[in-house]
Symmetry: C2
Subunit: 453 residues, 2 copies
């Protein structure tokens, strides 16, 4: 982080001073990853300026791969078409497909017409699958050999593969029908007698995914089995490509961020610094409407209760703390539940245990809350019944809040919806509605006021 900010500062300073050759030197000694990260913090004019000062084509291609929007938009708008195609050609094919997928539609069509040969085919393969599936993130190349190949021949084959396969994690082994039947490692090749055929040194129990597997499931498999790459196979178990662990790392970071965003009802608004205000508002508004509708119903519950008893004003004064506590307890329970579901920790039959436990936590906090707030209310208003009403409602409210917080994400999962989807607004609004109705009902019973329901 610190080094990126230093780089940003240096670029800004040099750009302002027009110190072109110093800027060029700074850029030449920076890594492509850092230049791309720095671009996130630069103005469009500076993004262009920096990119033009990159002399190494490999670095320029890498920067293009890594720069986020709107940096990429600025760059492609500014790049001559021929240069863009040339840089795309230097990328790994999965990165190439990724950049092409992010281009404006018209440009994407032109680029697809311009690229050629194997690359074009591979890019088309990737683009044919949804972005968040194994097919959409795979590299459609993998080092593969027939099962009868010997270790010596395999090493020789490796020597010939200078270009395409930047990182070879595993050597995939196919049978004569071209089906994936095993996997072995570079190290195994080196540590067995040269004449050994691969089928004798391969592991046959290969974990693989299909191209339509969701990227989150791919990440889960790679992480669970500590793999460096996972093969993607078709229905006949023919090898289509591999997903490598560095891409999985990106998936895990994205998915975790996404869960958090979804839960707060923010959608995929993580590119917070770039998107427009109206665009962000549109993404977040639907979940606020949930709260808004709930709030209007609550105001009606208040109205039913509008009988002019003096106790009402006192009770109303405790509505914010009831809502606040209920909301927080509910969000705590919901967060626990969402993370547990996401991390595969809620088993069949384990949901009941989770609900019981969270309700227990809610009850315990409710008792604490009731003691403090009930005492406060009784002393402040000199009326033990007021204290009792507040205390009783507090216990009920927090137990309900914890239960609702647990049930909403569990119900979403049961319905096949991502449990993180706006769990926050649903939970708080649900708790407000149930909790306040209970609060007023219980309080009016204790304080001998007319019932509201």
């Amino acid at each position: 982080m610190a080094e990126i900010l230093q780089l940003v500062d240096a670029i800004r300073r040099l750009a302002r001073r027009g110190a072109t050759s110093a800027l060029e030197r700074t850029i030449a000694k920076s890594r492509a990853e850092d230049i791309a990260a720095a671009m996130q913090h630069l103005a469009p004019a500076q993004v262009k300026l920096v990119f033009d000062r990159i002399t190494d084509d490999e670095v320029a291609a890498e920067v293009l791969t890594r720069v986020d929007n709107p940096g990429l938009e600025v760059l492609v708008e500014h790049l001559p078409f021929e240069r863009l195609v040339q840089l795309l050609d230097l990328m790994e094919v999965d990165d190439e497909a990724d950049v092409i997928a992010r281009l404006p539609e018209e440009l994407r069509t032109r680029v697809m017409a311009a690229i050629e040969g194997e690359d074009k085919e591979h890019v088309e393969d990737i683009l044919a699958w949804p972005e968040d599936s194994a097919g959409g993130i795979m590299q459609p190349v993998a080092f593969r050999l027939n099962e009868n190949t010997t270790c010596r021949e395999a090493i020789a084959a490796l020597h010939e593969q200078q270009e395409d396969l930047e990182m070879i994690f595993y050597i995939y082994v196919e049978n004569d029908a071209g089906q994936l039947v095993g996997v072995t490692s570079l190290r195994a090749l080196l540590t067995h007698p040269p004449s050994t055929p691969l089928k004798e040194i391969m592991a046959t129990d290969v974990i693989a995914v299909t191209p339509d597997t969701d990227q989150e499931e791919v990440a889960r498999q790679v992480s669970r089995y500590d793999l460096l790459a996972i093969p993607v196979v078709d229905e006949h178990r023919k090898l289509l490509g591999i997903v490598t662990i560095d891409d999985v790392v990106d998936v895990i970071r994205e998915e975790a961020a996404e869960d958090m965003m979804l839960m707060a009802g923010v959608g995929e608004d993580i590119d917070a610094l770039s998107g427009g205000v109206l665009q962000s508002t549109r993404k977040r508004l639907p979940w606020l409407i949930v709260t808004l509708c709930g709030g209007m119903i609550i105001s009606e519950i208040f109205n039913r209760f509008q009988t002019g008893t003096p106790a009402l004003v006192v009770l109303a004064a405790f509505v914010p703390v009831m809502i606040g506590m209920g909301g927080n307890v509910g969000i705590q329970a919901a967060t626990i539940t969402v993370r547990n579901i996401a991390m595969d920790r809620v088993a069949a039959g384990g949901t009941l245990a989770l609900i019981r436990r969270e309700a227990g936590v809610g009850l315990t906090m409710g008792v604490f809350f009731a003691l403090v707030l009930g005492t406060f209310a009784a002393l402040r208003y000199g009326d033990p019944r007021m204290g009792l009403a507040i205390a009783g409602s507090g216990v009920v409210q927090l137990t309900v809040a914890a239960s609702v917080g647990t049930l909403v994400p569990l119900a979403m999962q049961r319905l096949g919806v991502d449990p993180a989807v706006a769990t926050g607004p649903f939970v708080t609004t649900g708790i407000d509605l149930i909790g306040l109705t209970l609060f007023f009902s219980l309080a009016s019973a204790i304080l001998h006021m007319p019932p509201i329901l």
Copy 2:
């Protein structure tokens, strides 16, 4: 996920029926990772039963490495001491240190006395560093060679290293003083003439961390530069060990979960299914006290306002929706800010842009909210002034909410506190306090009621 639940079901069924040999077969054909995952969902007696049926020692060691608490507690309590030491000896040294660190203190001391040789030293090296530092998660071994070694010699050295280095990602190159000066790959060894010395084929620009680097920073570097392993060096640039990407994947998953938990004020309560109710309550309670204190202050604000005007009851009816909307908008802004900070997206000087943007989103949502709710209030109570009071307050409330939601995590970061730390409760309580005071002040001004402040 699905396959784990199937395994859990199968184990439960076979255990209930006492079908020992069928259970043994099921376990024999399951992966260690799946057995460990399944144990999370089993009762202690079943955890023991399953572990006793594992016949392969390597698998047993792997299960022990991967099983979470309380599974590990159940197993070590039940395992004969000699067997435990024997299984620890089969583990990779970083896993061994990790398991030892999780043992009850007395047992840990006995185990440390019992293990021997190089392993003991390595485990001590790891345990000397905090759990969440590079030193605490590193493997204190790495494949290293002198810079004058030729490719041929390097390959020969690799042949000899059968045991220790399960996965060789990079070959680290040292100078005569034992300092890390370069890095190369297995593939480079194979694709250069055998007599080439490593110093001619190595990259000299090695990214490295020190043992006290925080694991989150390690993860960030590995992810930013797409590394498979990152070397850990001391102040003299001597190689102490490596952190591999599979461990980094675990760090990223943990840290993301941690941020979400911290934000909701749940602490490290992710082991939700195992911990006790009282223990969980203790972790979550402090942040509720923030809400509780805020709520008591709010009830006093209400009291200042308790002048008996009929409009009060109507206004009070809108308090829940004000609080609910404010809370949701605030949490949305806070979540955006926390994730942006965590993902290094907030640059120096970028905070102002973020605040401006979030306040803009709040204002936009406020205008929408004001139109709907103001119209509703005006029509429902036949009083345009009531509508105006609600609408004006709504705009102010949501703009304030979005600003507070952005400022709280930014302020926490400035203070050197993890921005996720209970941002949720602070944000909602802060918004309730500021928002309701503004609400009542504005409403009483518009409705010509006596001012409350």
